[in-house]
Subunit: 209 residues, 8 copies
Amino acid sequence: MSKKPYVRLDKNDVAVLLVDHQTGLLSLVRDIDPDKFKNNVLALSDMCEYFKLPTILTTSFETGPNGPLVPELKEKHPNAPYIARPGQINAWDNEDFVKAVKATGKKQLIVAGVVTEVCVSFPVLSALEEGYDVFVITDASGTFNEMTQKAAWSRMEQAGAQLLTWFGAACELHRDWRNDIEGLGTLFSNHIPDYRNLITSYTQLTAGK
Amino acid sequence: MSKKPYVRLDKNDVAVLLVDHQTGLLSLVRDIDPDKFKNNVLALSDMCEYFKLPTILTTSFETGPNGPLVPELKEKHPNAPYIARPGQINAWDNEDFVKAVKATGKKQLIVAGVVTEVCVSFPVLSALEEGYDVFVITDASGTFNEMTQKAAWSRMEQAGAQLLTWFGAACELHRDWRNDIEGLGTLFSNHIPDYRNLITSYTQLTAGK
Amino acid sequence: MSKKPYVRLDKNDVAVLLVDHQTGLLSLVRDIDPDKFKNNVLALSDMCEYFKLPTILTTSFETGPNGPLVPELKEKHPNAPYIARPGQINAWDNEDFVKAVKATGKKQLIVAGVVTEVCVSFPVLSALEEGYDVFVITDASGTFNEMTQKAAWSRMEQAGAQLLTWFGAACELHRDWRNDIEGLGTLFSNHIPDYRNLITSYTQLTAGK
Amino acid sequence: MSKKPYVRLDKNDVAVLLVDHQTGLLSLVRDIDPDKFKNNVLALSDMCEYFKLPTILTTSFETGPNGPLVPELKEKHPNAPYIARPGQINAWDNEDFVKAVKATGKKQLIVAGVVTEVCVSFPVLSALEEGYDVFVITDASGTFNEMTQKAAWSRMEQAGAQLLTWFGAACELHRDWRNDIEGLGTLFSNHIPDYRNLITSYTQLTAGK
Amino acid sequence: MSKKPYVRLDKNDVAVLLVDHQTGLLSLVRDIDPDKFKNNVLALSDMCEYFKLPTILTTSFETGPNGPLVPELKEKHPNAPYIARPGQINAWDNEDFVKAVKATGKKQLIVAGVVTEVCVSFPVLSALEEGYDVFVITDASGTFNEMTQKAAWSRMEQAGAQLLTWFGAACELHRDWRNDIEGLGTLFSNHIPDYRNLITSYTQLTAGK
Amino acid sequence: MSKKPYVRLDKNDVAVLLVDHQTGLLSLVRDIDPDKFKNNVLALSDMCEYFKLPTILTTSFETGPNGPLVPELKEKHPNAPYIARPGQINAWDNEDFVKAVKATGKKQLIVAGVVTEVCVSFPVLSALEEGYDVFVITDASGTFNEMTQKAAWSRMEQAGAQLLTWFGAACELHRDWRNDIEGLGTLFSNHIPDYRNLITSYTQLTAGK
Amino acid sequence: MSKKPYVRLDKNDVAVLLVDHQTGLLSLVRDIDPDKFKNNVLALSDMCEYFKLPTILTTSFETGPNGPLVPELKEKHPNAPYIARPGQINAWDNEDFVKAVKATGKKQLIVAGVVTEVCVSFPVLSALEEGYDVFVITDASGTFNEMTQKAAWSRMEQAGAQLLTWFGAACELHRDWRNDIEGLGTLFSNHIPDYRNLITSYTQLTAGK
Amino acid sequence: MSKKPYVRLDKNDVAVLLVDHQTGLLSLVRDIDPDKFKNNVLALSDMCEYFKLPTILTTSFETGPNGPLVPELKEKHPNAPYIARPGQINAWDNEDFVKAVKATGKKQLIVAGVVTEVCVSFPVLSALEEGYDVFVITDASGTFNEMTQKAAWSRMEQAGAQLLTWFGAACELHRDWRNDIEGLGTLFSNHIPDYRNLITSYTQLTAGK
């Protein structure tokens, strides 16, 4: 049990780490279907942009079989620090990466990546070790199978990480719909088909009012 | 591990928070089948009435795509405080809601709602932060999929919430069948088909005795 | 492959056989959850009443461990022929039952019951043998497990039965919403929570128009 | 068993029927996840456009709780016949719809829609009855649950329909990659994340060659 | 579709083939849990004894890694023909086995064994080829996994075999409870815990009557 | 995390509580198949007898729809304290039950029952509150569905209970095969078909040695 | 239903078609886990070699994103016809491929490949159209998901293909263990861990005999 | 929650315990498919060899029905201490075993074995009790079913063990790809088919560069 029951995401105090969403590594992900996973990763990326969260990209061995970063992430975050690690498996073992994290000056970290048990879990544990509050975006992280997923989640939970999805994170960051109804609505509408359907029905029915 | 192994529901010290069971939001629920979910929500509502538990209703954006509160809940709890939140995603961020909770004078809170990761999880964490004992009714709460459910449960467990179903809550509140056999039996019979079948068989077989 | 691609339900030429929905036997049903199953059986029953379809009830060993007929079915169809079979496992082996079927003068039979592999499958095969067009309501029929379900469905399909659910049957019988929008809408609203939610949202949004 | 083992899709002899992909009805679909389903429906729509297949849109009760057609389909097929049925559940019972089908002069029909057991199954059976070769796009059609899906597929198979997915249909229509590598590659890349990843990796690795 | 819709089991015209239920081969069975599977095999064996059906036992390579016949089967059927095949994989390729089958003079065959795709499927196909009516007891047959099971069932269905479980077979053989209530009740009570519970409840409730 | 990593079962310091394994309540159990569940309950019962563990039986409302205790348990433990509770849902609220527990003089409790969330969970929490080390036999306890099971396990884990199966408990109690090879082997052979198969193969192969 | 109940594999009259097992395409396979799938494909390949079956390899677009043939297949079948198709999706549309098939002079074809719905299904349907008896090795063929798999299997079944696994095929080809116990045993031992375990246990236990 | 968030595997301070991977016991494993499981166990074994980790083998009752150690493990670790326990179920109760562990001088232990709930869980708990940091390789450990697996994992987590898979352990031990790209690449390529495919594609595409 955490010491403090509610460690709450604060959009002014959070940075986002996107770890190793590379085209080759994505073929290893089998605990979540590829079309759902792509949607979640892009939703998380849109969320970072929407809340203007400092975002850090990192990859391992891009020029080898792991493949390049998914191009959509590079395009969405053109000015984000981009650390192509020369060999470190745990991104936190890379000095440039840690410097980039510290340069944000934030105390809360949102982390997602591929594969969950390694590329996500290792820097999450390292960041917890250094006293950060860490939030793992479970549905924008993927790994080999459910057995691996369960073990990875267990290890991070035990160490004090909080698990949530991109939707939960977005809601916790936004706090109040009145801050911007249209912006958040668009984010949800673009990535939650059921929500888009609600809005489409609603718009038509109230059109003539 | 909780400090105190057994924090037990006490019908004289509990209030119930039903959060955002709205017709639009219900279309987002996919971790539990809709007919089962409807049955569970109505069972929880009947349980509140049966034990005369102070109940608080709240909704978000009722006039928008989220849709109105499920009409059965409004009808069942006509005198319950009803807080239509103007924008706060976490109900606990709404002053009127917190006032209504505090006005009950209870120390234990039962919470259920849609979607689990946000509308349930956020006020649960806030209430734990303020020292309440919180019981989440898992089967009257719903969310997007199993992955989201698992993450939401994990976060609430870590913070000290207790998870149970409406049936478990009803049994813990009732303590002893002799307090009212017929009343509890009716509650179960109306919402647990297997239990109704037992009673029907029993009634026929003992009819002539 | 059927000789005729489309053998279509015709509300003027169909009778319904509800076989052995008894309280004891229902405890054997484990290929569908009990609350879903109850909802489906009552939906089918309401459908029979709505379309005024001649309906025949039958049971086996009601006074023994199989238990009495589910009381809701008896109440809904007070004037239906009710054949309490003295021992025949296949209802079609009971002369009174077959007479009741023939007395309806219909050529199409809708069948549902418990358990699928026996109480449904046997009379379905017998009726096919005698030249009836048979429609099995899969979701108002239940059995021990998925393996049994698959075997039972396979045998009935091979023999020429058509499989569908109560919803599909209702739609095929109704043909055109304009025949009665409110009636069919009520039937669906009472047994399909998602559909009821759509209607509730719609009703509120268009209330002021 | 079909009389002719291989009835093969021919892009010069096929029309596409998109039935009732309406925002309200989509909330009933629970045999396929909403983000996957949306992707499949849009993929099928893109396929129709890519192969310039005559496409017919139809809806039921658009102004009621079923909701409007998904806007993306209307936008993608602005000149397609659009039959808003006044009440017929089986689209084939609507004269305008059948006229539109016949006006295409095609002998093969691709059908997808919501919900599978009714809005897809009924016109599929009617079209088979009239001698068309019918191909059901299973993954762009959705329904209440797996039990309903299995029953619907069984009925259509028995009547002679062929089941395949949008990807299978696209491959069978295209016949030979040399007809247009880039076009088909783009269609797949836009809707199959794994395939896009292969292409991204390939493009980078061969960039400097 | 079968030529005759209802080919019905007749206890006077059926023989049972139990193929290769050997202790080693049983470790390969993973499409059904071992405790359920054991229960089903013993239930089938008890059924054979109860209806006094001529039963034939056969094994392959008993002295090698496949292991000996499950001892319970040998004990239950001490006088059954027992063909330890010297090498034939398809039992029907063994002359002694076919002779034993023909010596029963029956036209209907019930078959179960391990593994489904080979030891069951091969003699089933051979027997169908020779004009027998064949009934496969699916839940007393086991194989490597669900994929293998589905392929094996598909092949046997296509060839005209009927699939059912031991319970379905027992009911079809018995025809009428009045033939012997206690005997059949005991068979079910010994192998269907839910049924035993019904009987236990019933017996107590009616004890004092 | 427990204070002491390894709280180990000690056959000289453990008592067993079998709670509400009644024929009616068993029809509510759907998170484990009935034949597996029966096997597990009987295995646990045999284990108690084998290790001569003091065992306490209790039931609720035996004369009502919950039904009588499963007769096998009564027969196996004829001299066990048998507390038919007049109404208390939590067995620990019954003075006679607690007296019987205390009379054993043991500090460790093994608990199993129906349904997990109530009849098991409540006395487990109460016993933990009083300082007992509690071991829940998960596979001899059953409840409505997986969602309820997960919630019940979570609550007991949080309070400090240890989860294991009857097999794990038997192994931990036995410590060393040399204490009695044949006795433990028989227990396993009677309830683990795979283990029996190993022994049967082994026995035959070494028979002539 | 097939005209002839038992069309049986004959090792003297069968050729094997391995279609598009390419490293890129394999990343699309998600209806079977990658380690199981690899094992099955290599088992099928070993089976071809063991029975000296004429085998034909084919690929599509090897130099593009689909990637090269899995190297193990090329090594195992160095002299097999190897048709790198320039663009045809259906291998049967490639003249060289059909020539290679016809050059074998066989009437039975075993087919496996990636993805099932296209690369397997299309040549299977074409071969059936030309009168071949076709056997699909389901577990050495893979595709996007279960929904696609079911549709693909359905279409091939309807057209008259027989479904089985590599193990079933091997057994049917071998006919009698006495033809070569060691050879077949080695094939199974190398690809079925459970079988290898049986043999290892057996070998040790009988070592001293 | 652990006291120290990140207890990290250190290849210089870790020993590996492989417990009871015996041919007979492996037939009991049903929470993971046999081909996947074999692959994982051999991968773990290769990992031990690659990192030159001191490895200890132990078995129970090798000459009885549990069967001999899987021969591959014996061959891979010819010089490893090999403790054939005469009867202790918990390997930690065997003095020679504990001596062998202590002789390694390591503080971290990696443990895997069959069955998880007993042969893994017991020594894991004992080692934690003595102050070791323990890492359980979940996917090279197997047990009867998922229910047992969940209970076993829960107990070990509560006591402070860390769960991970062989892949996660290998990555954490390696730290940096630059330590040896080819060696780790070969390990992954031999046991992760998806990874091998990436490398094969990559190698071909970059061959001519």
